[in-house]
């Protein structure tokens, strides 16, 4: 086993442990923090694959925005001394079924995938930016539309109700 392999295994262990912690801990705050650890491991894997831009975006968006929003919601909704409620078995079962379905779908997709051989030249940020605004402009704009709808939805939900 050379150094690259041990780095990869280390990152994979961090990612898997984080993912396990995200569902296994009883305290919600620990779940959220394990999710952060898991995402951090994924960012490490991106760096391992020389995709620094993706790694940085992973940290800024998934840790800096999404996980922080989750933690924020937990902090707003439950104080620290009220975190050890028993878990309902039916909810766990439903969660397990959903996770298994997603896993099966991904497994099918990945096992049937034919991976394109890279040219050896790693795309840098300039190439990513160009691709997003030329060849891949449709998915890019679709994503921005989804985000716009989400923003408007959040505004509608959080604006004070009119008394009529």
């Amino acid at each position: 086993m050379n150094l690259a392999d041990s780095v990869f295994i280390g990152l994979a262990v961090v990612t898997v442990l984080g993912a396990l912690g995200a569902v296994a801990f009883r305290a919600l705050f620990y779940n959220a923090l394990s999710l952060v650890l898991c995402l951090f491991g994924v960012a490490g894997l991106f760096i391992y694959l020389h995709a620094e831009f993706l790694a940085v975006m992973e940290v800024i968006i998934y840790i800096g925005a999404i996980s922080v929003a989750i933690i924020f919601a937990i902090m707003l909704s439950r104080p620290m001394d009220k975190s050890d409620e028993p878990r309902s078995p039916s909810a766990s079962l439903r969660g397990a079924v959903c996770a298994a379905l997603v896993f099966a779908g991904l497994w099918r997709l990945l096992s049937g995938a034919r991976w394109a051989q890279g040219s050896g030249q790693l795309p840098d940020m300039r190439d990513i930016g160009k691709a997003l605004l030329t060849t891949d402009v449709l998915p890019f704009e679709a994503v921005s539309l989804v985000l716009l709808v989400a923003i408007i939805g959040a505004l509608v939900l959080s604006s004070p109700r009119e008394r009529s």
């Binding site: 620094e52 831009f53 840790i63 800096g64």
Partner: protein, 327 residues
């Protein structure tokens, strides 16, 4: 003699640079605390610390030694693991900023092609540290302080990033060395004055500095998220705050004030001069302006900084494409 394997060479480099960064950060924080107290004293017609050492320079060293000897008090109802983890998480990522700080032509630890984006991603880990500190202390002031801190940091991160994009559009690169090299004739503060102002305001808020220091507003929240911390754990937060001021000033100096460039003196000296000039302005602002209210703070980010940053970005894009058309 057998050559050192590259792995160990890399490890030695990491240890060496890490030690140098920690050393610099500690000395810098001691100096900045002294500077802050002297600047505050001057603005308030006092004299500040003058007795320990020449001009009171050793006062902060004495304070640091006192902090080192203090007992680490942990609130009984706090979360043992997270309470100890938080100061480390809040402080350590700031050390990563020294990886991308260019001290001179070629004098940079790693000239990453993602450049200062690395810094923004590291800052996010710091916020999580602040979050954990507030939550694990199990104290209402700490919790409120950390919630304010994170809400503020999320909001001000957007104008911060948008303002730097003006510079990126002008130079077409994120590499710190290339951005500095592009300023050999004219500093970007002249080409991008709006971006510089926005960057400066937003980085003040990101470092939780007055007038944006509502997360630790003494009059409402005791000391905010680090209310329950004592001894060296408190000192780590303190160190983090002053390092954040230094780092954001150094990045501002690199992006907008020409970095290492300047006549006669060597590059690192110029960078430090520009950085400490900005730090002085930061302190001047703290002791001049009153603290904003929480809602004013949010409104300032979303209704003033972000629209202006977007306009600046649009204007820069138009200017750059005109320049490309004419060239």
């Amino acid at each position: 003699m057998t050559p050192i394997p590259p792995v160990f060479e890399e490890l030695i480099r990491i240890v060496l640079y890490g030690t140098l960064a920690i050393l610099f950060v500690s000395v810098n924080a001691l100096f900045l605390v002294w500077m802050e107290r002297r600047v505050a004293a001057r603005l308030q017609l006092r004299r500040g610390p003058i007795h320990v050492g020449p001009q009171g320079l050793l006062q902060t060293v004495a304070d640091a030694v006192k902090l080192l000897t203090k007992e680490l008090v942990r609130p009984y109802a706090s979360d043992r693991f997270l309470y100890a983890l938080a100061p480390v998480l809040a402080f350590a990522p700031l050390l990563g900023a020294f990886i991308i700080l260019p001290l001179g032509p070629g004098a940079i630890i790693r000239d990453l092609n993602i450049g200062f984006l690395l810094l923004f991603s590291l800052a996010n880990i710091s916020f999580i540290g602040i979050f954990i500190a507030g939550w694990s202390s199990n104290n209402k002031y700490a919790l409120l302080g950390s919630m304010r801190a994170v809400a503020q940091n999320i909001s001000y991160e957007i104008p911060l990033m948008l303002s730097t994009m003006g510079v990126v559009l002008t130079t077409g690169t994120l590499r710190m060395t290339e951005i500095v090299a592009a300023q050999d004739r004219i500093w970007f503060i002249l080409l991008q004055p709006v971006a510089f102002l926005i960057f400066f305001c937003a980085s003040l808020a990101e470092a939780n500095r007055a007038p944006f220091d509502i997360p630790e507003a003494e009059s409402e929240l005791v000391a905010g998220f680090h209310t329950e911390y004592s001894g060296m754990r408190f000192a780590l937060f303190f160190l983090g705050e002053y390092t954040a001021i230094f780092v954001s000033s150094a990045i501002a100096a690199t992006l907008f004030l020409g970095g290492w460039q300047g006549p006669l003196l060597p590059g690192p000296v110029w960078l430090l001069l520009k950085t400490y000039l900005l730090v002085l302005i930061v302190m001047w602002i703290r002791w001049t302006f009153p603290r904003l209210r929480s809602d004013q703070l949010m409104a300032f980010a979303w209704k003033v900084l972000i629209p202006f940053a977007l306009l600046n970005l649009l204007g820069t894009a138009v200017w750059v494409s005109m320049r490309n058309l004419l060239a």
